[in-house]
Structure formats: structure tokens, C-alpha cells
Amino acid sequence: MNLPTRLALAAAIVGTFAAGIAFLSGCNVPARAESSQRWESARQCQSCHPEAFAEWQTSHHGIAFTNPEVRALSDDFRREECMDCHLPRPLAVTGFGKRTLPRRTHFDEGVSCISCHLGEDGGIVARNNRPEVPCKPKRSEAFLSVDACMSCHNQHQTTDQWRASHYAAQGIHCTNCHMPEADRKRPDGTIRKGRSHIYPGAHDKSMLAKAATFTAERQGNELVLALENTGAGHNFPTEERHRAVDLEYQFEDTTGPIAGLGTGGAPEWSRAWRFRQPYRDEPGENTQLPAGKKHEVRVAAPAGATAVTVRMWYRLTPMCNDLDPRSTLLEERKLEWQ
């Protein structure tokens, strides 16, 4: 076999081999269209914003789709409408302040950097124009407005509650409490003011403690319990369906605790009041406490009472009892009765 024939044969073998590889690898997939930088995952933000990323990753935005509590309540997201806000596409796609659409990718990222920071044009939106940095953020008024939170947080009327409050009139926005200022280090070591991405709320005891003022006093033979929403810019608790705030009491006499109504989160306790919006067919009316409002409850003391202990509980779900980790004891006080 002469050289040209050998070369031709080699070409034929290589060609056939290439054809085989191409066939088996499914080369009928057209080459992927290359485009300018696409922002798709929160991990793309991590290298330049490690602190904000770390804060977000463990926040309830970061775990919005993986949180076992949510997964249980949404039947593992078989209730697809829950995905709208727990796995949203970038809010700007449908418009800040409008309903969101769910995505079906990056399941471990929940409400990610991309959900809030991706602009309509595929670029990044933020507080400032920064053409000199890699993601070239552009200032967006819509992104900075309450509308950005409303797309999801008005599902349970929280934004409407805020709009009806004096906080809205004073220009105190969601971010004032839920995204406080935080120091951020620039690459040159200097410090700038950024915003925290932890989003403290119903899972943060110190935040809950700031939301309302609880008082308990004796007036004659009555125990007067009162709760005033002095710190939340929306109802307390807000959100339909799950959250509840309970005021409970337990009287005692010289022999020990007096048997109560057994209506509290533990059998020996009595519930004086529950602040909650009933869900669906649940009986009762909405007893959530709007911003600035106060509610008072009076309980007649039993004969022989020598003291009373009162408690304020925050419950992530109304079904849980005092021992459940989803119940947070916000305050406990003891009043002498004699």
C-alpha cells in the first residue's frame, strides 16, 4: 500500500471514527449560542460579595425552597403556587410589585441574588451605578422600592398592612428593619456601607422581642394583659396561615398551680388571647394586631390566688405546643396577687 493510499485509508478510519463519536454523542444538538455574561446563579456573586453571600445562604431567603418546614407545608412543593415565591424567577422579569413566576432550576438557591438583583435587561440592578466593577450594577428605583418585597410578601397582605400604617407615611421601609446597614470591606481594604442580607423576621427572637410591648398588671381582682404593636411596621403577627402570638396565664395558690382551662400550649396553662388570622375554613376572625394598635384582655382571678405567671409566645405554626421548637417564649413574668 503506497503512502497516499495509506493516508486516504487513515482519513477514512478517522472520519468514520469521528462520525461514530459524533453520532453517539448526539451531535444533533446545535452548538449552544454564546452570549454576553449571563447571571443565573447566586454562586456567580460569591467571589466578589462573600459576606453578603454567606449571610444570604443561611437566611430564610437562601433556604426558601429547601427549608423542611416549608416543604412539609407545601407537600414538597407539589402545591406549585408555593414555588412562585419560594423559587422565584428574577422579579424584574414580571415587574417589581407584580406576581412572580417560578423557575425550575437552581433548586438549592431559593430566593437568590438573581431573584432580586437581575434587571429586566439581564444586567444587575442595585443601589448605585458601578460601571467599573465586573457585574456593572445600575441603580434601579423599582428595585429599591417596597414593590421589590411586595411581589412575594403581599401574598399574605404584609405590604398592604404596611401601607396602611404610619410607617409608610413616614417613609420607613421594609429594609429599615429587615435589611439594616452593614459594613462591607472593599478590595482595597476600605469600608463602605452595605445592607445585611440576613433578613431577620419571625425566626429571630430579638426581632420578635422588638415588635410589640407586653404588659401585665393587676386591677382589682382582674389580671389585665395587654399587647401593643410598637415595633412592627405591619400586623403582629403578620402572614396568613401559620403564625400566632399567644398570651397565657397560670394562677397559683398556697398549694401550687391552680388548674387552668387547659387551653394554653401546655395543659396546665390557660390562653387569654391568640393573635392570628384564621386560615381558610378555620372559624374565628382576624385578631392580628395592626401597627400601633393595642389589645387588652381581662381575666378574673380565681379565689385563693396568691400569684400569677404570664407568658407571651410566638408560634411559627398555631398547632405547636410550648415544648415545640417552633414556639418562642418572648416574655414571662410573675405577679404576686396578695
Binding site: A11, A12, A18, A33, R78, R99, R104
Partner: protein
Amino acid sequence: MRTLTTLSVLVAILAACGGEPQSTHPKMPALPPLQLLPRIEELKQLGSRPVVSLSDVQQRELQEYADVVLGLTEADERIQKRAERNLLESEHAGAVLIPALKHKDAAVRSRAAWLLGRTSRSILQFPLLLRLKDETEPAVTVWIAEALHRLGNDAGLVWIDAAINHEATAQEAGTAALNLLREDGATLAEQPTWLELQQELQQRTKTWRRTGIGSRDGVTPPDAAEVLAILCKHLSITESFLLRPIDEAKFVIIRSGVLALPTVEIAITAAEPYLRSVALQILAELGRTANPLCTKTLPLLEDPLTAAYAMRALGELGCSDATAHLVARLSSPDIELRASAAGALGLFGATEHAPALAALMADANEAMDVRVQSAFALRCIGDNSAAVAFLAERKQKGDYHAPTLQILEDRLTQNR
């Protein structure tokens, strides 16, 4: 020699195109133009039909009959039978029976459902479907499902099937199943086993999922305008931020079978993106029943907001006309579109594209969402050991969202 070289290149080109260019690169017809129109107001108008108001006398009379037949007023057997006959003969029986579906006593709710199933008014399947959603008492659910079947809707048979598996409800569910199957003329042994009853129910459910038509013969279909009004009213409220109306709209419409199609057809071309996306999700759940809407769904592949939903819907509907468009989107720069296209190709068993899907699954540089959807697609297409191994590996390594893998597994076992 030159001939040999040319031949080898030709072989390479042919093979690169899969050997059969027509089957792997189907000619891509242009998509029909995407025309979106504001629909919420239209749905509201269609949904606002005059409410038939009964006179106080009529209402009181019907309520008295209902109280007797629901056991809320004591009466002897003769009066009970007369009240039942009078109530069922009234075209307004629903006015007093529908509220009873929410009665605090489960026995009253069961009885109300039982009676609704015997009104012969198939339009009453819709309040029953809505109640099916919120009913928490398994025994009541059995009677809602039984009533639905009598009114031409087999969406509830899965609940009767499930109730047979539970000791507390097995007897009631078995009796309901036996009676309705015998009335349907099903061939059953004189004393059929539980399994036999369940197999019959499952067969009917399977047919319902494919056709959206109930298996009970002789049911007069509801008035189309009335159905449109009820379902449009459900869908017209999805513009609000509240979740419940959406939840209810989806639940009812998904279980309405072919009756849902005219409403969904309007909503998938809504200019309002959320409504459009909900309609496409409903369409996907309707599955093969909604196959007649394939052509109407295709243009949505050009919609940047809902193309991913449209792909899933096209896959579930079995719209093979979409194949070329889906293949083209396997190379989209958008991960979600690539992933959705891969999944959809699997849903209607695009066997000829298995090599392309296998390549995506094996591509370590590809996003995991796309690789997982490709593996799912390969498993839909057939027994694919590589795909089985790939998905098992994800589970074992825990490098992909486990509940999502489970949802895909569940879909594989549904055998729609």
C-alpha cells in the same frame, strides 16, 4: 484514493447528522405568531352570569326537604322518601345541598354529596370538586368521589381506590365502588375481591387521565356556557396576590377533564403573564386530555416569560409537532429552557433524540438541572441503564435537590 477520502468525509457528515437527517433534524416549521390579549377582564365577564334567585317560599320549601333528607329534622320514612324525591326533582336542589357540603357533621356532608350525585345535574360536579379539595374526612371524600362519577367526572375515583386501602374506610369505599361499577355494567365476579374492584377503578382513572371523559354512560353533559362561566370565574381571580383562589382554580380545572379546555384555551393566550403561566401549568396537568390545544400552545415557545411552562405542557400533551422546536432549544443559552426542552422531549417519548439527551446527560460541563432533566427524559423514553445510574448517583451523592428527584421519580411511575 480520492474516492475513499470523500467517502469517509461523507460518512462523517451523515453520521454527524445522526445518519438519518430527516428523523433527527426534522425540518422546523415556523411557529404561528404569538398573539397575547388581555384576558382577565374577559374571564371576569364570562364568569359573571346572572345568579338564579329563588323566591323565599321556594328557598324555604327546598330547605325543609333538605333538612329532612340530611337528617337534620326528624321525619318518618315515608316523609323522608317524599322529601328526597321532591328535592331531587327540583332543578335548584344544589342551592340547598351545596352549602351542606360544609356542614360541621361529616355524616351530613356525606349525605349531601350522595344526594348531589343523584340530581342528574352534571353541572354540580364543580362544587363537588371544590369540596373534594378541602374535605379532610376520608369517608366523606368517598361519597364526593362517588357523586362526581355519577355526574360524569372520574377525577375522584383515585380517592375511592385509596380509601379501600384503609381499614377505617375500606368497607364504605368498597360498597360505593361495587355499586357504581355494577351500575356501570362492569364485568365483576359475584363476590369480587378488593383487588378486582381497585383494578377496575384504576382502569377508569387511567382512561380519565387520557381522555378527560367520565366512564359513566348516559350522563347529560353540562351546558357549555355554564361550564365556561364557572371555570372562567375561578381563573379570573388569579390576578390578586392571594394564593387560595389560584389553589382552588388549579384544583378544580385540572380535574374537569375535557370540560376545562375552552377556558384554558382562552387563558393560555392571556397578556397577563401570571394568568398565562397558571393556565400552562393546568394544561400540563390535564396532559393528553388537552392534546387538541397543541397548536394553540406552540406559539408560546417564543414567549420569554412562559416558554419553559409551554414546553412542559407540550410534553405532557404529547405534541410531537413541537419536536423540532424543542430540539432547537436544547442549545438555548438559558438553562431553564434547555432543561425544560430536554424534559419535554422525554415526556412524549422522542426516541430518535435519545442520543442527544444522552450527550447532554453525560456532559460534565452542562448545568446539573439540564443533565438531570435529560436523564429523566431518557427514563421516560425507555429503560436506560445509564440514566437510571445517573439519577441514582445524584441521590447517593446528594449533589442535586432530593425532593425534586423524587418528584421526577413519581412522574415516571404515574404512567400517564
